[in-house]
Structures are given as structure tokens and as C-alpha cells.
């Protein structure tokens, strides 16, 4: 849409033609001309709205009826009289053509008055919405069971219910030239790091995308300066998680139309944290450690298997090597190819099972698991141990509570498999060396990704691997140590 800074004209007919032209005579564009039977003065006005998104009952009951019942109107301030007459809470006076269009597409009703170069915009938007429901992706056993929906305003109100604090600031802006998506930043004014806030604000303002359909578009656009498979922004659909992070001084980004709220800055270790950690007695719980352990093992299990069976057979216990060797007797493919084929098959099974109609899932699971897995081994195509190793890897991988983070290591695992098959354990060490360096290098909007582990921040470690009692962690806010090095580099 081209920027149209022109003011609206004084003629209603001109304005209506302009609007109709702008909307290409859209069938849901409703134009209703009203001439109220006034005893004093005269008024000619047109009511314009988009029938599909505006609430017709409101228009009829609270705009049309009061206007038609008007008796008098002052000739000097007709707009003031009308705004006093119509019974809608949110009313604005608009004078620019592009603003009129913008209001219309947001579901507002425009009242155009003959002879005036202003018009009235009344909020009558009625967006179709689903009711609040359980969070779909991040379920939990204990704690709040409410999830975000697609309406940004509802989501904001959900968070506001948790954080009843005047310092909670919402900044709204519209981005995307064609979709005009409203994006809101939410933060606690007294706790937020102004530098990070400016950084995020600038990055969102400079997004040059025509269309924004989901919050993931924003995530990709504002993180594009660092190439990494790891997510630098936490995505959540839980209002309690969002509130918790906002209270730690982080910034939440709400995108209208998306149930996923973005939280920045995000740290590596926070992807292992689940909201339940705070609701359960956690000091004696191992769940976080189990998640971290299984994440690491799910990277290394397959490469280690390859390295041991190909290069370092002396490190396998004798009893095990007999059974491994006996399984390999009549297997045609080399172990590396076998593993890679099964990893790919597993990815395909995952991919297809997500989008499968529910009716076929049973048949699919029989084919996918029993026929493919068991029979392949029985037929002597693959080694049973390979199946065990590959499936164990994927099971371990699912232990991570946040899916995008679990998916981040898909590619890394393949790279490690190649390294292990060419160089053995030496290759795995080489890969680890680069992986750790890469993680150390990353930063999420100025906060080092591996903080508080590297650089070490002892106070924050209380809520890292295990959660210490709440009274020790809640009242002392976390300081994700900002990367001085990177800041210095930027200043220079």
C-alpha cells in the first residue's frame, strides 16, 4: 500500500468513492448513507465498515439508533455532537485518508460527514476467536492450565492478570506493509535493561517484511545477524512462563494472530527449564539434570556408537563385542550408512505422523514401528543394536520441554555422525570443540548465550541446574551477565 498522506475531502461522495476504490469494491465493504430527521440543522453522513469484521449489532444499536434519534445538531461542532451521541467507548477523530483505510481494516466503523474534513472512527471490531484452552505444545501436570490464543489483546490481558503492576508497559507498533500486523512489546519499566530494549525495539522497527503471519517471522528477522541452529529467542504459549520472564526483566513480544509469544533475551540453559520446575518441590528433583543429560547424550550416542564399533573396538567389553559382532555377520550395509538411513527414516516418520489425519495414525504406527523396525532387523537388513541406538537417541531428544530447541541438534547430530565415521573419537572431540566455541560466541541481544555458566555468574547459578528454594531466587532478580566484549566491539 502506498503512503497516502492526503487529507480526506469535504465531500462524502468523494470519500466513499475513494474508499471503495481503495478496497477494490470489496463485497464486504458496507456503505450506508444516513440522513437523520433533524428538527434543527441538517446532517448527511455515511457509515462505512467492513461487514465481516465489524460487529453489526454494535453498529445498529449504538451508532445508528442514537444518530437517527438525534433531534438537533450544532452547525459549528457537528463532530463533537456526534461523538457525544454514539455509544461506543473508543472513538477517534481521523483526518488522513490512509488512517481511514487503516482503521477500516482493523474493524472500526468510519462515519463520514458531509462538509467536514474530519471523520469519526468508532471501534466496533469483532474478531472471530477461539476460546481459551490448554497450552498445546507446553503441557504441564501442575500449575496454570491456560494457553495463549491468536488474539494479541487477549494474550496481553492474560499476562496482565498475573502481573498486576503499573510498571508493566505495553508498546504497540504496526509492521508489515501488507498485513499491518500489530506487534506489542511488554516489559517491566523498572526492571528492563534499557539497552536490550532499545536493541529489540530498533530491530522490530527495521523489519522490512511485507507480510507477517506469525511471531516466528519476527523471531527470524530480529535474530538474522547470527547464523546458528539454536533458538536465540524463547517461544512460549504459556502466560505463566511469560509473566515469570517479564518479572525477571525480560521483554515479551506479542504478535497479533500468533499464540506464540517471544521472549528475549533467551539463554541456553533456560530452554531446559519448564514451568513445573517452579511448582514442584525442586531441590531434590533431578528433572532439569535429566533433561540436560539426555540432550547431551542424544547428540553423542550415535556418533559414539559409530566411533566405538569402527575405530575403538578394544574399548568395548568382550561380552558385548561378541553380541555386536554376531549381529553384524550377515548385514549388508556398513554401520554408518545403516545409521544414517535409519535417522532419515525416523525423521520422515516424525514428519509424517505430525500431519497425518487421525484415522490413519493407527495403521501408520503399525507400519512405521513394527514392520519397519522389527522386520527390518528380522530380515537381516539392519542390526538390532542400531535400531536401539537410533530410537534411544530420539527418545532422549524428546525430554527437552521446548521443541525448537530439541530440533536444533538434528543437523548437528548428522555432522557428528560424519565426523565420527571419518575420524573416530578424534572427530567427535573436534566437533565438540567447535560446538562449544560456537555456543560461547552466541549472544541473545547482548546477553551471552551460555550465561550464567560461561561467563560464570554465581548468583544466577541458584536457578540453573537445580532450582533452589523460591525465597532464594525470586526476590533477588537474575542478572544475565551482559557480554562486555561484544558491546565493546560494537562501540568501536
Amino acid at each position: 500500500m502506498k503512503k497516502n498522506e492526503a487529507k480526506i475531502s469535504k465531500s462524502v461522495i468523494d470519500n466513499v468513492t475513494f474508499i471503495q476504490k481503495s478496497f477494490h469494491s470489496n463485497s464486504d465493504l458496507v456503505v450506508r448513507s444516513v440522513i437523520p430527521p433533524l428538527t434543527e440543522g441538517s446532517l448527511e453522513l455515511s457509515i462505512v465498515y467492513l461487514g465481516t469484521i465489524a460487529d453489526k449489532v454494535t453498529i445498529q444499536e449504538h451508532i445508528m439508533r442514537p444518530i437517527l434519534q438525534m433531534k438537533t445538531i450544532s452547525s459549528s461542532h457537528p463532530i463533537g455532537d456526534i461523538t457525544n451521541t454514539i455509544e461506543v467507548s473508543d472513538i477517534q477523530v481521523v483526518s488522513f485518508k490512509d488512517a481511514v483505510i487503516k482503521h477500516l481494516i482493523n474493524g472500526q466503523t468510519i462515519l463520514l460527514l458531509e462538509g467536514m474534513d474530519h471523520c469519526i472512527s468508532a471501534d466496533t471490531a469483532d474478531w472471530k476467536d477461539r476460546s481459551l484452552s490448554f497450552p498445546q505444545l507446553q503441557r504441564s501436570v501442575k500449575g496454570p492450565q491456560i494457553g495463549f490464543t491468536e488474539i494479541s489483546n487477549n494474550n496481553i490481558s492474560l499476562v496482565k492478570r498475573y502481573v498486576k503492576n503499573p510498571n508493566l508497559v505495553i508498546e504497540e507498533q504496526t509492521i508489515g506493509d501488507e498485513t499491518n500486523t500489530s506487534v506489542s512489546l511488554m516489559f517491566l519499566a523498572d526492571k528492563v535493561d534499557s539497552e536490550i530494549l532499545d536493541n529489540i525495539r530498533n530491530k522490530i522497527q527495521s523489519i522490512q517484511l511485507n507480510s507477517i503471519l506469525d511471531s516466528s517471522y519476527i523471531e527470524e528477522m530480529i535474530c538474522e545477524d547470527q547464523i546458528t541452529p539454536f533458538p536465540l529467542i524463547l517461544t512460549t504459549e504459556r502466560p505463566d512462563v511469560t509473566s515469570g520472564h517479564i518479572l525477571e526483566g525480560k521483554i515479551a513480544i506479542f504478535c497479533d494472530g500468533s499464540p506464540n509469544v517471544l521472549i528475549a533475551p533467551a539463554l541456553f540453559i533456560q530452554f531446559f527449564h519448564s514451568s513445573e520446575d517452579y511448582y514442584e518441590k525442586s531441590l531434590f528433583e533431578l528433572s532439569r539434570l535429566v533433561r540436560i543429560f539426555s540432550y547431551i547424550i542424544s547428540i553423542y550416542l550415535i556418533p559414539m556408537y559409530i566411533a566405538f564399533t569402527l575405530f575403538h573396538q578394544e574399548l568395548i567389553p568382550s561380552e558385548l563385542i561378541i553380541s555386536l559382532a554376531s549381529q553384524r555377520q550377515m548385514v549388508p550395509l556398513p554401520v554408518v550408512i545403516e545409521v544414517i538411513v535409519f535417522m532419515l527414516i525416523f525423521q520422515v516418520i516424525l514428519e509424517s505422523s505430525i500431519r497425518l489425519p487421525t484415522g490413519i495414525t493407527l495403521a501408520f504406527s503399525i507400519i512405521g514401528t513394527i514392520i519397519l523396525g522389527q522386520s527390518a532387523a528380522d530380515a537381516g537388513l539392519v542390526q538390532l543394536t542400531t535400531l536401539v541406538i537410533v530410537s534411544a537417541t530420539y527418545v532422549l531428544n524428546f525430554a527437552v520441554p521446548i521443541q525448537p530447541f530439541a530440533n536444533a541438534i538434528k543437523m548437528i547430530r548428522f555432522i557428528f555422525v560424519f565426523l565420527a565415521s571419518i575420524f573416530g573419537i578424534y572427530g567427535i572431540m573436534l566437533g565438540t570443540f567447535v560446538l562449544v566455541n560456537h555456543l560461547c560466541k552466541l549472544n541473545s541481544f547482548g546477553a551471552p548465550y551460555l550465561s550464567p555458566i560461561a561467563p560464570v555468574h554465581i548468583a544466577d547459578l541458584k536457578d540453573t541446574f537445580i532450582r533452589m528454594p523460591l525465597k532464594k531466587i525470586i526476590n533477588t532478580p537474575k542478572k544475565y551477565t551482559k557480554d562486555d566484549y561484544i558491546k565493546k566491539q560494537k562501540n568501536e
Partner: protein
């Protein structure tokens, strides 16, 4: 940060030049769990027990034997191994070696040092594999036996020795240490074949209830580098008792009041404080033994509920320990060897005397005497405290 990625690329490329050449799929490798070395004229006869994994577990595709023994002679062990590898379709993997079985004849000729040096030097044979010797048969004959319980004879031998306690099995490292140490002679466990060697090499051996099998018989005692004598299993256990830890054996003693016998089952033992004392021309060694155990079979008539009885029983156990250790010492005196490491005790506690007597040392052991001070704890006397008569 770019230099890191450069470093990664450089390391990857450079590793191609020194990457391991021994990359083998598991079905291209032949594993060997036991190697036997015998004496051959002018060299060694090496027999290698190669595992046939297909026949041991999983699906049996070909009805072949679980393992095959290849043998070859050579002037060095390596040349013999090379000959064996010419016979097989797969590459040999000696890194899983559990057992190094040395023929009796080879050790009688004093070749143990050569073998130990070879194992420690070799990059293939792990230095923690157990060294065992044979009595009567050659190593090759023993490796050809089908093992009735574990399925693989090498695992059966290593499990048998490990069961008896850590001090019984000896690795190349342990023997090397004993070789270097002054005043201690080598001790190597030996096994014997029970039954007919020829029948043991047939698959029928796995199907009978009275198979030809191995047995741990005791310790082979060396004088310097030559095998001198074999000590039976019971005496060897007492030898082990004096070395340090051993467990799970029975001490038989006669009852305090009669000639009937009772059995004291040792569950835990510890030898502490080996002290040396010189009296005139006698060398006296004091051992403190701490034993824990149960009364097992009890043929005596005294009531065990009476604390006095257990004191008497403890005395009897002490007595039989003293008798047995004395017998062990007599045996070593006879062959002029020192498996107990008595010389070592002297050299540690009285280096001056040791330097004087070092030259004609093992002969001087004639004057040695062992005094064992045992501390017996009876943990469990059994359900019936007295025999009721």
C-alpha cells in the same frame, strides 16, 4: 572467531594424513580372546583362539564351531601371528585378548621375561590380559577344548580366576613388577585339564554332562625366571592369605575336644603389618591376619552358645593356619625360592642387612620363620548351637 573455524578445517584436513588405518567394520574383523604360546624348537608356537560370533549368539546361519584355534610357529611371536593372519579371511584383532596362556615347557626354559616384555611392548595385546600357565598339557591343547559353561574357554578361564579374588590373577604388569623387585619371586596361576584332551576338542563335549574341562589348580612357583614347582590349590590359598586379600575358602580344623573336624568358612580376610625381626641368625617374620567368617560344618560336641567354646574354636583355627603356613614355607625352602616376598620385607625394613645378604639370599631362607598372629572373628555360628548330645 573466524580463526576457530580455520583451525577446525586445518585439523580436519591434517587428520586425514594421520587418521587411523585400522578402521574395520565388525564383520571384517576376527576377534581373539585367548592366545597360547608354547615352546617350539628355536622359537615359539603360537595358537590363537578366534571367536566365531555367528555361532555364539543371534541367528546361527552356518552350523560352525563357536571358535577356531589357528596355530603357527615362528622365531618370534609376531612372525607366527603373521602366518596365522595369512590363514584367515579377516583381519585379526588381538586387542580383546583376555588370557595369555603360556605352556609349561616354555616357562621351564625360563622364557617368561621375554613373553612379558613382548606383551608390554606390543600395541595389540592389552597389558591387562591375564597370564596363566598350564600343567601337563600344552597351551594349544587347552585352547582347543570346548568350554562347557561359558561357551568360550577364554572367558571361562578369566572368570574362574577373577572369582577367586583379585590377587590370584596376574597381568603382565604385575609380573614385570615382581621381576624388577628384589627379594620376591614370580607366582603365576596355573590350570589343568580334567578329562581327555581329544574328546574336549569335539563339539560333543558341549553335550555331555561329564565334559572335559579346566580347573584352577594352584600357583606355579618360579625361581628367578624359571618355573620350578607347582603348589596345589589349598596351599596356594594360604599363600594368597599371606599376600593380602582372599576370601571364600574353608579352613578345616579339628575340634578342641576330639578328633572330629569342623569347617571355618572365611568370608573376608586381610593381612596387615608384616614385620621382620632378626634373632641371631634367624629371620623371623610377623604377620597380622584379620579373618572374618562363619562356622560351617560342625561335628564337635561343645555347645556353641558358650563363649568359652568360641575361644577354643578360634584357637583351633589359629593352630591350623599356623600349621599350613609353616607347610607353605617348608615348600618354598625346599626349592630355595621366595614367592612370599620375604626378601622384600627385609630390604624395606632393614636395607643394611639386605645389602649384606643379597648375594646368597634365597639360600638363607632356610633360617626363616613365619609367625602368624591371627585375629579370628566368628560372625555366624549357625542355627543349632549344639549338637544335642
Amino acid at each position: 572467531m573466524k580463526y576457530l573455524y580455520m583451525l577446525f578445517i586445518i585439523l580436519s584436513i591434517s587428520s586425514i594424513f594421520f587418521s587411523q588405518g585400522d578402521k574395520h567394520e565388525l564383520n571384517k574383523t576376527s576377534f581373539s580372546f585367548a592366545i597360547g604360546i608354547d615352546y617350539a624348537k628355536g622359537g615359539y608356537e603360537v595358537s590363537l583362539q578366534l571367536i566365531n560370533p555367528g555361532a555364539i549368539s543371534g541367528e546361527i546361519i552356518l552350523n560352525n564351531s563357536p571358535y577356531i584355534v589357528y596355530k603357527a610357529t615362528g622365531k618370534t611371536i609376531d612372525s607366527a601371528l603373521e602366518k596365522i593372519s595369512m590363514n584367515t579371511s579377516r583381519s585379526l584383532d588381538l586387542q580383546q585378548e583376555q588370557i595369555v596362556l603360556l605352556g609349561e615347557e616354555l616357562l621351564r626354559k625360563g622364557k617368561i621375561k621375554d613373553i612379558i616384555e613382548y606383551i608390554l611392548h606390543s600395541t595389540d595385546i592389552p597389558s591387562n590380559s591375564i597370564i596363566v600357565t598350564t600343567k601337563g598339557n600344552s597351551a594349544r591343547e587347552l585352547l582347543e577344548i570346548f568350554s562347557p559353561i561359558e561357551g568360550i574357554s577364554s572367558l571361562e578361564i578369566s572368570n574362574t580366576l577373577n572369582k577367586l579374588g583379585k590377587k590370584v590373577s596376574k597381568t603382565a604388569n604385575d609380573i614385570k613388577v615382581d621381576l624388577i623387585d628384589d627379594g620376591k619371586d614370580i607366582v603365576v596361576p596355573y590350570i589343568e585339564l580334567k578329562g581327555d584332551a581329544k574328546k574336549g576338542g569335539e563339539k560333543k563335549n558341549l553335550e555331555t554332562t561329564e565334559p572335559t574341562h579346566f580347573a584352577f589348580v594352584g600357583l606355579a612357583l618360579f625361581k628367578e625366571e624359571k618355573l620350578k614347582s607347582f603348589m596345589n590349590y589349598k596351599d596356594s590359598l594360604y599363600l594368597n592369605l599371606l599376600y593380602g586379600k582372599s576370601s571364600g575358602f574353608i579352613i578345616e580344623s579339628s575340634c578342641p575336644e576330639s578328633e572330629e573336624k569342623f569347617a571355618y568358612k572365611v568370608t573376608n580376610s586381610l593381612a596387615k603389618k608384616k614385620e621382620y625381626q632378626k634373632e641371631e641368625d634367624k629371620y623371623i617374620f610377623h604377620y597380622d591376619l584379620y579373618l572374618k567368617g562363619d562356622i560351617s560344618q560342625y561335628n564337635c560336641h561343645l555347645n556353641l552358645e558358650n563363649p568359652e567354646t568360641s575361644n577354643q574354636i578360634e584357637k583351633q583355627v589359629k593352630k591350623s593356619i599356623n600349621n599350613k603356613t609353616h607347610k607353605v614355607l617348608e615348600h618354598t625352602k625346599e626349592h630355595e625360592m621366595d614367592p612370599l616376598g620375604l626378601g622384600q620385607i627385609i630390604s624395606q625394613q632393614d636395607p643394611k642387612t639386605w645389602n649384606k645378604i643379597k648375594g646368597d639370599y634365597p639360600a638363607l631362607l632356610k633360617n626363616a620363620e613365619i609367625k602368624v598372629n591371627s585375629h579370628i572373628t566368628i560372625q555366624n555360628v549357625g542355627n543349632y548351637k549344639s549338637r544335642g548330645d
